[in-house]
Amino acid sequence: MLSGIDYAVVIAYLVGIMILGLYFARFVRSADDFFLSGKSLPFWAVGMSIVATDISAMDFVGVSGQSYRFGMAVGNFDWLGSMPAMLLAAFIFIPYFWKAGLYTIPEYLGRRYNDHVRAVASLTWIIFFALDLGVLFWATAVMFEPLMGWKPWFSIIVTAVVVGVYTFFGGLTAVVMTDVVQMIIMFVGGATVLVVGLYHAGGWGDLVDKISAMGDAYQNHFKLVQPADTQTPFPWTGILFGLTFVMSNAYMIGNQAIVQRCLATKSVWHAKASMLTGAFFKMFIPVLVMFPGLIALGAFPGLEDGDQAFPTLVKSLLPPGLRGLLFAGFLAGLMSTIDSILNSTATLWTKDIYEKYIKKGASDRHYMIVGQLATVVLLIFGVLTSPLSKQFPGIYVAIQTFLSFFQGPVFSILLLGMFWPRATQWGGLVGLVGGIGTSVLLYLFKDHLFTIEEPFLYISWWSFVAGVLLNVATSLVTRRHPEERLSGLVCRLPRDLKGGCEAPAC
């Protein structure tokens, strides 16, 4: 429970972040300002914002819980799950998207394939983000209750009001700039737990010795690479094929919430540098969210639920004042994820659906207002649907599973679309829909097909393979696009107008 000084820290954070966000409202006068910050953002802000968006408050509890159970292998998701995907994004895809003047990733798919592919991809992301909002609200609020003594509805309303106000008025600029502060607060809060925890554990060497002496079950706890036949969800084969080759690329290249801020940078150099800055800060994330789980294992072995590792550590180790700092870090994690989802979903809705199918050729200001209204509607939807998580406890896993269904197929059509001129519009559509269908089938029959408990890494790899094969097969039997239609959309083809790839790999 929080003491007076803890409350003071949390309230100071909430008030400060709202004032900071509102300050940037003065720079928003058009749709371009609202969705892409008028292409004015510096690399360092975007790089830090990528990390803040990626890490939610639940990662502190969830990743700590997994490292408590399975050891350091969970760190692969931030280390190998970032590199080399962020290099590929920085040097190939992001500059390409930036030069094409895109607002959204589905917009590229629409230009490269057809409007059906754009609509399917965009609607899929909108549905995912909208459902994810409510789940994020509820899961984090429930997590806060025992730690902070706040009722779930109180946490949800406070967060929604603060985030809603600055996201509505300040657009992407407010989102990114508040993310910068939120990332710093998250890092300070996480580092506090780490330093205090390691001090109590007697240092890193003592911690390793203590856990290694717990028995055979803990011999792999400090190894990143797990055997192919491990019973944990992280065999090296899944990490290599599912995570490194597919999921990390899909996330860093195909996720609107990540890519959109890179498109808002002031130059193509800043766009590339922003991704590399994000990669640098991502290297520290496992240290902050994973190591507390290991410290908790050394201090409190035998917890029935791994997710209790982090809260137990916080309650027993942190004095008043530092707890408030950590909770401000939790709030920062939640708010930085929520604000990015709101702005990105509003962009997808306005640019890919509203402007394309509902009202073409309206004024720039009209589309900005539509984006702002979409932000409010989404926020209300997220708040109202948050109790669904209480009624359906498996909904969080279900939504994350839903995301894994289409990451592989989306990456497959992005990859072929950019590097294979022969890919046709129908190849893209069949690859996308067929790849998603393959994911669903593999998931439905996972108990018969896979030997590990949660085979989502394998499912994303095989759905990616299915997406590629279906795209290639369909493209080869359908009419190829004329070269002039593809110029500026496919590597190795000369660009006209705004598009074009000049990456050395192209």
Partner: protein, 75 residues
Amino acid sequence: MLNLHWLLNFDWLRGISPAAAKGVFLAIFIVSGLLVMMIPRAYIYEGVQDPRWWHNLKLWALGVLAMIFTIYYVF
């Protein structure tokens, strides 16, 4: 069905030890670094008005790769 199971679960790679698999990951970082070094200078400095040494994004990328290589080498 047995063949599908063997394929989907990567049973065909079970003979590879974790140490060899670790070598594969380290090789990925080395190859990535080599590819980064091959990027033309003009592409790296594109969009910069007055290039300085710290604008060289190759150094940034190689720095991050060195960090992750060390992590995977140690653990």
